[in-house]
């Protein structure tokens, strides 16, 4: 099986959230392991919060993301929005904004001032995560897409266009 076969179609509204989450599991798992391998410095910046559970809720997607930035056992998985796991901090905003924040293309403070970004729970954990991500050069989203070859890049382009339009 080649890598490209694992790419699901962009999520459709009719697909049950649980199914989407299950389908995303191997992909996200691979993504987070790759990030952990390629950006070890990032984890030093969140040292006190490597075992913290973050929930990231893209406003317009049917699922949320559960992140635990533990360099030994990094966790990134999709979870249904109505069944969020226990978490230390929650970050919510439009998918496009979240994507830009991860890639250092948007300023988190500015988004917060404008009320486009909503955070709750452990604020220090969120600030640490933000600062850690911001020290990564280049685009994590692009790296992730590259991981899956041309189809990955195509999907990222679709996601970016679509969320920008919304």
């Amino acid at each position: 099986m080649t890598e490209t076969h694992m790419i699901p179609a962009p999520p459709r509204r009719l697909m049950p959230a649980g199914l989407i989450c299950a389908a995303l599991r191997p992909i996200l798992d691979r993504v987070v392991r790759r990030i952990a391998r390629h950006h070890p410095d990032m984890f030093a910046r969140i040292a006190p919060y490597q075992r913290a559970d973050f929930v990231i809720v893209p406003a317009e997607l049917p699922f949320a993301l559960h992140l635990r930035p533990d360099p030994k056992a990094p966790l990134l998985r999709a979870v249904p929005r109505n069944r969020l796991p226990h978490h230390d901090a929650r970050i919510e905003g439009r998918f496009h904004l979240l994507l830009e924040l991860v890639d250092g293309e948007s300023d988190g403070d500015a988004a917060f001032f404008a009320r486009d970004l909503v955070i709750s729970g452990n604020t220090e954990a969120v600030v640490s995560l933000r600062n850690a991500l911001d020290d990564v050069d280049g685009s994590i989203a692009q790296e992730t897409a590259d991981l899956f070859g041309p189809p990955g890049r195509a999907i990222l382009a679709v996601l970016r266009r679509r969320s920008k339009r919304q």
């Binding site: 250092g104 001032f113 709750s120 640490s128 600062n131 020290d135």
Partner: protein, 343 residues
């Protein structure tokens, strides 16, 4: 490189753009966006932005200085907090690491720290931090005479005519803030954070530590910010927000029962349009606040001010892209620089 070989960097060009970096990536971003100088600090209490996940290890500082120097930019190391008795060694060690890393100057506030660097690293260039709160020619001259300070970062409380007057009475360069967080209290003289959280801005380098900040969102979309359990502000669903700092909070007083911004509303300083006046008043360097902000902020603000300074140097008007989207409360002010009525 030996300890005392701080190269005598050329700081002689007026209109120098001094830009913030909270991470090595932000430093590279600032340099690439046209910063003449970048300022940064270590991951500890020796600087006034001791925030979680922010700042530099000694190794990161060394490679960052190399990156900046290779591109003609300078690096300033902020050692601008006040060591409490018994902990001075941390600041001394930081200065020694800074020397070894090849930084171009130190930004200091504490007299003991200034004296130590002046005596132990005689080649080092010293800038007086805004945290020293030197707002008169006499105070500035005191630091110049005794510690050889070459530049003062002025508190954000003076009008342009007052700055011009000060310049005529001091032997050093002036750096002023031109963009960013608009501090209300005299820097280096504020213990508000310590009163509520037990962490000191002067001794620990923190202001409204994130660990003590909570945001509560109500069902109607309004949001309440708290610091160590004390309500700082609450924002209606569509109201722009600010940092959860005590000096930007809303309170009631006996005759102001509706809640008001007793100190200042969430707002940012932007002196973009005043750059030519500031240069004419003798300001040598322009400082952009925001080591706690993202690369994205650094890129946008540094690019905008780079263009502005370049067009002034070419004899034109400052060309400033709209930066209001990056400001606190999405509002800008010229603060004290414009009029004494601000006071």
């Amino acid at each position: 490189m030996t300890d005392t070989e701080m190269t005598d960097t050329d700081f002689s060009t007026a209109g120098e753009l001094v830009c913030p970096a909270g991470t090595p990536a932000a430093l590279r971003t600032a340099v690439d966006a046209g910063a003449d100088t970048v300022y940064c600090g270590f991951r500890d209490a020796t600087n006034a932005r001791n925030f979680p996940g922010l700042n530099f290890t000694p190794e990161e500082l060394q490679s960052s200085v190399a990156y900046a120097h290779a591109r003609g930019a300078r690096v300033l190391l902020a050692l601008n907090t006040y060591p409490p008795a018994g902990k001075v060694a941390l600041w001394r060690d930081a200065a020694a690491i800074g020397m070894r890393s090849g930084v171009d100057a130190f930004i200091v506030a504490d007299m003991g720290v200034a004296r130590h660097i002046a005596e132990t690293h005689p080649g080092a260039r010293l800038h007086l931090s805004v945290q020293a709160a030197a707002s008169s020619p006499e105070a500035i001259r005191y630091y110049c005479q005794n510690f050889g300070v070459r530049r003062v970062v002025l508190p954000r409380i003076l009008t342009i005519p007052e700055i011009r007057k000060i310049k005529s009475e001091i032997p050093c360069e002036i750096e002023t803030f031109v963009f960013g967080n608009h501090g209300l209290m005299v820097e280096g003289r504020c213990s508000l954070t310590n009163w509520l959280t037990g962490l000191s801005t002067n001794m620990d380098g923190v202001c409204s530590p994130a660990a003590d900040v909570t945001y509560e969102r109500a069902a109607d979309g309004s949001m309440r910010s708290r610091l160590a359990g004390f309500t700082i502000d609450s924002f209606a669903p569509d109201e722009n927000a600010g940092y959860p700092t005590i000096c930007k909070g809303r309170y009631t007083a006996p005759h102001r029962t509706e809640g008001f911004y007793a100190f200042e509303e969430p707002i940012s300083l932007n002196l973009g349009r005043m750059l030519p006046d500031l240069m004419a008043a003798g300001v040598h360097a322009f400082k952009i606040e925001g080591r706690q902000r993202s690369k994205s902020y650094v890129r946008s603000v540094v690019r905008a001010f780079r263009r502005a300074v370049d067009s002034i140097r070419a004899g034109g008007e400052p060309d400033l892209a709209d930066l209001v989207a990056l400001t606190e409360g999405q509002k800008e002010t010229q603060g004290a620089f414009q009029t004494k009525k601000w006071r």
